[in-house]
Amino acid sequence: MLNSYILSYTTFIYGLAMVCYMSGLIFKSKIASKAGTVITIIAAVCNLLGIIIRWAESYKLGFGHIPLSNLYESLVFFAFAVSVVYLVFEARFSTRAFGAATTLFAFLALAYASLKPGAGQEIQPLIPALKSNWLTAHVITCFLGYSAFAIAFGISVIYLLTAGKDDRASVHNKGIIPPPETLDEIIYQTVVFGFFFLSIGIITGAVWANTAWGRYWGWDPKETWSLITWFIYATLLHARLMRGWQHKRIAWFAIIGFGAVLFTYFGVNLLPGLHSYQ
């Protein structure tokens, strides 16, 4: 179907954006980085187009629903969300240093979505439990949160790779990678953004569970893991706000937090529960 074509081309556009951002970092070229931004915008637009067309096509098949119902569709939405959230932060902090990491995420998400057998590339009708507006709110907010955490993870890796190298002629000075203080601030702000949306995501999920099964919390592994993730980021925020933790420790925390996000998303499917997308 048309949406799958568009989305597989989008994968390569993200790949191209990543190459541009990478070249910008390696060759310290601002033009390449700027090209990265333009291409990321194009990719995000195509990504959105793919989602909208998929939505329309599901109506043509006679069981229309917003494409957020299986692994494939959620990965496609993740790619879109991560690039949009990234573009917002790029504009806000006027730095393209973490573009390569972000477009890599979008690229991997789309590539995995198309290549993993059984991810649900063909449009499927909704099973009864998924017919709920709360589900839409739940998935969108969770993925906005995950996107921000993915970006925080990317910056943390860059931070750990570059900070501490006291080479004053290093990347920081050329204005390619912002100084550690700025990176630290971006990590903090992306985590805050993610924490806000993860909180709404968990809450809308609880409300949905209450309308579908009559209980707002059931300690299902996916629920539990999202709570674990929430605890980890809550710890990070408190440690930073109150104990003044910064820099390396926060970066490591953001990396561990993202590990929990990944496990919530993929690892939990290894455990039995209601959420595992088949």
């Binding site: 069981f63 499927q124 009708p125 099973i127 009864p128 439990a129 017919k131 709920s132 805050v192 924490f195 806000f196 909180s199 709404i200 809450i203 609880a206 409300v207 209450n210 309308t211 579908a212 099964w213 009559g214 209980r215 707002y216 919390w217 300690w219 592994p221 539990t224 893991w225 709570l227 674990i228 605890f231 980890i232 809550a234 710890t235 408190h238 440690a239 109150m242 104990r243 939990v268 455990l271 039995p272």
Partner: protein, 456 residues
């Protein structure tokens, strides 16, 4: 004895200090995360035999000892949550005292010093401070409700502030988390979760409680008038729909269709579509006595108990199983299951596969039982819950979101516009801004202010 006194005081305030510390918060949150992880790795709420077969003996014993098979209800999980609650409470109260002083101040104080290093824009203008003063003051008055005008050397300063109340956002989050914990406490004390299967056309007035073998009377009856399941072409289920009637005091109070995600609510009870299947409506049972060779026919429903003639004992029809695995292996198809009991003898389970009427002969009992004519009916599986904690929990949800928004995305901002005549001809206008967090937002507002002042 001053020493002892200090000790006494030290003990109490020491405890308070511990519970007011964010170090404890960090430790507790991480401990809860760790415990929750264990809870997802070890399957929860399985029968004891499950753990004994799955794990080594010592591991299984440890699991039972620490209640890791029911982790989230274990005393020590509850202790961690209680400590977190105490931590939030003590910490918030301790800090609120100082925060209240800032937030509920009658007359805010502005200090010029704070603004000195936070200049956003400076520009010269030909207007005199006297010309500007009213304009600037009005401009700030329109935008902020707290302003303060002050004469300075050769000019004036106007201060303004907003968002003082947002300093309470954090405490709103903390209060909401406590409210959430209260809500879950109410849920666990006075809520229940039950399950019931109702064949089409029949009614029930009690439900089976989850995680226990007790039944719970409802005080009214639920009748299933109709059940339908529809499928997509691919064979995936499309919709489960039950038409239910609530019957109280012999009268039908209400009739409603329910589907997944659209439950029926009645008197605080929520009735959810949960599953469906087929069961038997009624069966003709045949009991053949070995001694006399006589056969007796009886019509039975699931759950019925009858006395078998010739004093052969009682028989209870307990279950219908869609596909029964005999000895855990061979699928012998749809079967009825019952229990036969005679005084003094051990009650015995009897399996009666519909497709093999003489199956029960194998048992070599004094009576052979078989199921003849048998009519099937769809049943609807309903989850029935009552949870007075839900309104409290939902309220806490709203407050948590609101509180996090206020705590992270709003701030207490202060502005200062200063105009001084330096020499005879030009006035220098300085616009500065400070904020307790998110400075860039405050600076943006200051830039807009500067733009407007230029246009005065």
């Amino acid at each position: 004895m001053p020493d002892k006194n200090r000790n006494n005081k030290g003990w109490l305030s020491g405890l308070r200090d511990i519970f007011a510390s964010v170090k404890l918060t960090v430790a507790l949150l991480l401990a809860l995360a760790a415990v929750a992880i264990i809870g997802t790795l070890i399957p929860q709420n399985q029968p004891h035999i499950f753990y004994i077969t799955k794990y080594k003996e010592t591991a299984a014993r440890l699991i039972f000892l620490l209640q890791m098979d029911n982790m989230y209800h274990s005393p020590w999980f509850r202790a961690l949550v209680t400590m977190l609650a105490a931590n939030i409470l003590v910490c918030s109260i301790t800090r609120l005292k100082t925060v209240f002083k800032i937030v509920f101040l009658k007359k805010p104080s502005f200090s010029v010093k704070n603004f000195e290093r936070n200049t956003v824009e400076t520009f010269p203008t030909e207007k005199t401070p006297e010309d500007l003063q009213k304009g600037c003051n009005d401009l700030l008055l329109k935008k902020f409700h707290t302003t303060q005008l002050e004469q300075a050397d050769k000019g004036f300063r106007v201060f303004a502030e907003r968002g003082r109340i947002t300093r309470l956002g954090v405490y709103l989050v903390h209060f909401a988390v406590l409210l959430l914990l209260c809500g879950t406490l109410i849920s666990s004390i006075s809520g229940f979760e039950g399950y019931v299967q109702i064949p089409e056309g029949q009614a029930v007035n009690s439900v089976q409680l989850r995680d226990s073998d007790k039944t719970m009377p409802l005080g009214f009856a639920i009748r299933c008038d109709d059940f339908e399941v529809s499928f997509y072409k691919s064979g995936r289920p499309k919709e489960y729909r039950s038409t239910l009637s609530i019957i109280e005091d012999g009268k039908v109070k209400l009739t409603k269709d329910i589907v997944v995600n659209r439950p029926l609510r009645y008197k605080g009870f929520n009735i959810f579509q949960s599953s469906y299947g087929t069961s038997v409506k009624d069966v003709d049972m045949v009991f053949t006595s070995k001694k006399s060779g006589l056969s007796y026919h009886r019509k039975m429903h699931i759950g019925d108990t009858i006395q078998i003639p010739e004093n052969l004992g009682s028989f209870k029809l307990t279950d219908f199983v869609e596909s029964y695995r005999f000895m855990g292996q061979h699928n012998i198809g749809p079967s009825l299951v019952g229990i036969i009991a005679r005084d003094k003898e051990k009650p015995q389970m009897v399996v009666l596969p519909i497709q093999f009427p003489s199956f029960d002969k194998m048992r070599r009992g004094k009576v052979t039982i078989a199921a003849e004519h048998f009519s099937k009916a769809m049943y609807t599986g309903l989850q029935v819950t009552k949870d007075p904690g839900v309104p409290v929990v939902y309220a806490s949800f709203i407050l948590i979101i609101l509180g996090i928004y206020i705590a992270f995305f709003t701030s207490h901002q202060k502005f200062c516009v200063m105009a001084v005549r330096i020499d005879g001809r030009t006035t220098t206008v300085t616009v500065s801004a400070t904020a307790n967090k998110n400075r860039p937002a405050a600076r943006k507002t200051a830039q807009q202010l500067a733009k407007k002042i230029k246009r005065l």
